[in-house]
């Protein structure tokens, strides 16, 4: 069974601080995705990383995929209260119809 471990589980920071969320697996996935989920809503896709060593930027968010395609990180620069939410990483299993295997998530709270 492929599992994704996400850390930290909870993060509470002040506006303007930087933070990093980690996602680690013992197995290789076809690709890895990061989602953000607001209360009462479904997850919304932020980015998909496919190639080992890949780095993608989305405004103040930087996503990295490990060289071995087993780990990933999400770095947020100068966090804002609007960044508050649940961040989920998910491994894509292409051989199983693109089934998603999710980590447990990181709850981020940014205080103003």
């Amino acid at each position: 069974t492929q599992l994704l471990e996400q850390s930290p589980q909870f993060l509470s920071i002040q506006e303007g601080e930087n933070l990093t969320v980690y996602c680690n697996s013992s197995s290789v996935f076809s690709s890895l995705q990061w989602y953000r989920q607001e209360p009462g809503e479904g997850p919304v896709l932020l980015v998909t990383v496919v190639t080992g060593g890949e780095v993608k930027k989305l405004k103040r968010l930087t996503f990295q995929f490990g060289d071995a395609r087993k780990d990933s990180s999400l770095h947020i620069t100068a966090a804002q209260p609007g960044d508050t939410g649940l961040y989920l990483c998910a491994g894509v299993q292409r051989e199983y119809g693109n089934k998603l295997v999710f980590g447990a998530g990181t709850i981020l709270r940014v205080k103003s």
Partner: protein, 112 residues
Amino acid sequence: DAGVTQSPTHLIKTRGQQVTLRCSPKSGHDTVSWYQQALGQGPQFIFQYYEEEERQRGNFPDRFSGHQFPNYSSELNVNALLLGDSALYLCASSQLAAETQYFGPGTRLLVL
């Protein structure tokens, strides 16, 4: 263009009862996947439907069953409800072989 819709939004049932949840995929999508998200956890894959057939299944008992209709909409049925079935049930739609899935807002089920 409507995104993925789910009904009902909330549901309260008692142990032993049966429940049916409904999902309409995003326009142009032919594949529907269902996920269970317990409180404080990431979503877990239940099963996936394409061409009215179950193509992939996660580690869920036979009490969980589904159906896909010719218009690509889908139902999730859970029989003999247990307290542990209380969760947010998410539907995600995609085009076959596409890695990007779009999630609905979910149905929150409470089993008393």
